[in-house]
């Protein structure tokens, strides 16, 4: 393709990426090193609020922002603070003192490390499960009778179609309090079951939900890949006496390897940003994720304060985390790519 044609072909998407991905990223990067705050002053204020019948008036010293006469807006100052917001998120001093004193558990008292622990574990536990379950469904469908395949594919794709936050809310409603499934389990086991009362049951539900939700995606990709397996190789393997498992191990899996890497890449990127489950399951008391932490910094409180700088730092740290996770699979793809080119 001529360079000019190529340029005009990709220009719109490059422009969009610069505008909607690169520019915000740079802005967040800069904000993570700055703190913008209103200029505050102390004033005596008398406030009268209603009781049921009569008012109570209190006079107190309040700290309020100064309003700029010219613009009518709050006066603000912006300062460069270096890595201070990162330090506020990471709390390295507490981290090292926890390691120094040998109380490793104390590290998980710090929000960021607590969130990192869950996010990493969530990502790494669900990855093999998604690949495994997806491959199993694909093999099952591939071996099913032709007339059954259509309906089976349709049914197995359904979980993937559901909006994530709706899916997680449905699971929450099925299990919370005396939800249908908890009530059934209680009747069955004769025990009082509370799925949302401790961290490990919530985490189990989250793993289950994520695998249920994402496995269909892996399935579709693998199913497409299975259609291109070389039949001659497969037949000669049968003649050589390879059983079902050996054919899977030595013929099918190597053939699907590029697809497995592809799914691993997508899954790592998606899972590291786990968020819907936290909101849907209301698990903040027990389990939080990195993306939720950023969200929490950004949510204004009743007085309108947001921790923008810490949110920016936390978002940058999340991005760094994804990049580190993706290095391994990306290197492998790159090597395969170079080998293929020669």
């Amino acid at each position: 393709m001529k360079f000019k044609t190529f340029f005009w072909f990709v220009a719109p998407s490059v422009f969009m990426m610069l505008l909607f991905i690169a520019a915000p990223l740079i802005s967040v990067f800069i904000q993570s090193f700055q703190i913008t705050q209103p200029v505050m002053q102390q004033v005596e204020v008398e406030t009268c609020t209603p009781g049921f019948l009569t008012q109570t008036c209190v006079t107190e010293t309040k700290t309020v922002p100064i309003i700029d006469e010219a613009t009518g807006r709050t006066q603000t100052t912006t300062e460069w603070v270096g890595f201070q917001s990162y330090q506020n998120v990471l709390q390295m001093d507490k981290f090292w003192s926890a390691i120094g004193s040998g109380n490793w558990g104390d590290i998980l008292q710090i929000d960021f490390w607590k969130a990192l622990r869950f996010t990493l574990m969530f990502t790494l536990v669900t990855l093999p499960l998604v690949v495994g379950v997806g491959l199993m469904i694909a093999l099952a469908v591939n071996n099913a009778a032709k007339s059954l395949r259509g309906p089976v594919i349709f049914v197995s794709l359904l979980p993937f179609i559901i909006t994530p936050v709706i899916g997680s809310l449905s699971i929450y409603w099925l299990f919370v309090g005396d939800g249908i499934l908890t009530a059934t389990l209680e009747r069955w086991t004769g025990q009082d079951i509370a799925m949302f009362a401790q961290a490990w049951t919530i985490e189990l539900l989250m793993y289950f939900y994520r695998v249920w939700h994402v496995a269909p995606f892996a399935f579709v990709i693998f199913y497409a890949g299975l259609q291109t397996v070389n039949m001659d190789t497969l037949e000669s393997a049968i003649i050589d006496g390879a059983n079902r498992f050996e054919r899977l191990r030595y013929v099918i899996v190597p053939h699907l390897m590029p697809l497995i890497i592809f799914i691993a890449l997508i899954h790592l990127m998606d899972c590291y940003r786990v968020f819907d489950e936290i909101i849907g399951f209301r698990s903040q008391a027990h389990v939080i994720s990195l993306q939720w932490l950023t969200f929490d910094f950004l949510t204004p409180d009743d007085a309108g304060n947001r921790a923008i700088s810490r949110a920016a730092a936390s978002a940058m740290l999340t991005m760094v985390g994804i990049v580190i996770l993706l290095i391994l699979p990306l290197r492998r793809t790159w090597r395969d790519h170079k080998r293929g080119a020669h």
Partner: protein, 406 residues
């Protein structure tokens, strides 16, 4: 056929005019409002809509939108629904206007109690008060011969008896969903033990004896609540009550009406209201007082403000209250306090009275710090002393970032 359609159209337009008739004038300035979405706001905005040209947005997440929407010029909404917690950013940014002249013009029916004055200027008009107070199943208490508890110690004693009798799943319900709700439980309990939230230099004073006692009481509650209490918000507790799963709760007065809603509730007429329990002898009820009311945006024309305030007064009139008497503890003329209001009135008129929730920037920051740090204590990951230190540190970090602390 054509005639039939015409007749139908005529009937519909007649319906339209009867709806308008409930309003004493016709509003010709397009107006919008943003407020919370609970029952009382629905009643008020419905009454305003009768005058026409009015669009109400009822959204429980209004607090995240309101400051930015009112800062726009022209403001995206003319009328705002606020409480003493959420008026802070609007007052700070001066995006709401003083109402003195408008009150003089249209506010003949307002009582002085309704006028929220900041430094003498009327900045908001309150329509109702709200507070968390004790709701309990009168039938269960009568069966087991338990007196209405007036202190938290008595609450626990009653809870122990109820658990022993096994008449409900859990004796106590609590709005302890981690985050805002859980923090509010502490904000109720802590002043009950005589605690103050801030020192004079804006540092927080929660790391104190009263703080330890408040945490201990909250932990004691857990013994009698649903094990999943850290996900339960006001609506969840309300439903537990309605389904007969709990026997008592320190719940918002604005939820009282739902107990007698025959479409939802299995305990109609069985739930009674009492004052919020005392945390210590001689103290105030362990709760905070709230008001909800309306504000008018600053960044709109004077004509729009005039029309908006006139419309708001139409929404806050006696006729509205008579149609929705049980929806709230109204401050509006014509309200008849019923049995559902007993608890809230007993709480608000107690001596010493509970404090109003403080509308300050620092309180917003502390509320968030409490909401994030308290769960670790209640799940048993951290002890009380370490939790209060963590709250203090979280507050200090965000207060420095917000410019409140040096």
């Amino acid at each position: 056929m054509y005639l039939k359609k015409l007749a139908l159209a005529g009937a519909v337009s007649l319906l339209g005019t009867t709806a308008f008739a409930a309003c004493s004038y016709e509003n010709d300035v397009p107006l919008k409002s943003l407020s919370a979405g609970f029952e009382a706001w629905k009643a008020v905005t419905d009454a305003m809509a009768e005058c026409g040209n009015f669009q109400a947005e009822l959204d429980q997440e209004f607090r995240t939108k309101q400051p930015a929407a009112f800062e726009a010029n022209p403001s995206l909404y003319h009328i705002g629904g606020v409480s003493n917690g959420t008026i802070t950013p609007l007052l700070n940014a001066e995006t709401i206007r003083p109402l003195d002249d408008l009150v003089a013009k249209y506010g003949q029916n307002l009582s002085p109690n309704q006028l929220i004055r900041v430094d003498g200027q009327i900045m908001a008009v309150a329509m109702m008060v709200n507070t968390q107070h004790l709701m309990y199943r009168e039938d269960i208490f009568a069966d087991l011969g338990i007196e209405t508890p007036s202190t938290w110690d008595e609450v626990f004693a009653a809870a122990a008896k109820i658990e022993e009798a096994g008449v409900v799943d859990h004796a106590i319900g609590a709005t302890m969903k981690s985050g805002w709700n859980l923090a509010q439980e502490f904000v109720n309990m802590y002043p009950g033990f005589g605690g103050v939230f801030f020192n004079d230099d804006n540092t927080t004073a929660v790391n104190s004896d009263a703080g330890m006692k408040a945490l201990a009481t909250m932990q004691a509650t857990l013994e009698y609540t649903d094990p999943e209490v850290l996900v339960s918000d006001s609506t969840y507790v309300q439903q537990q009550f309605q389904q007969g799963k709990i026997a008592m709760a320190n719940l918002w007065a604005s939820r009282a009406g739902a107990m007698n809603d025959e479409a939802e509730s299995q305990v109609v007429g069985k739930v009674k209201m009492a004052a919020a329990p005392l945390a210590m002898d001689g103290g105030a009820p362990a709760t905070t007082l709230w008001w909800d009311g309306i504000v008018i945006a600053a960044n709109i024309t004077d004509e729009e403000a005039d029309a908006a305030f006139r419309l708001a007064m139409e929404g806050l009139d006696t006729e509205m209250v008579q149609g929705a008497n049980e929806a709230a503890i109204w401050l509006v003329n014509g309200y008849q306090p019923g049995p559902l209001a007993e608890g809230a009135i007993a709480t608000a008129t107690a001596n010493p009275a509970p404090p109003a929730y403080p509308s300050t920037t620092q309180m917003g920051l502390l509320h968030t710090a409490l909401g994030n740090e308290l769960p670790a204590f209640l799940t048993g990951e951290r002890d009380a002393a370490a939790t209060l230190v963590a709250v203090e540190e979280a507050y200090t970090t965000s207060a420095k970032e917000a410019g409140v602390l040096e």
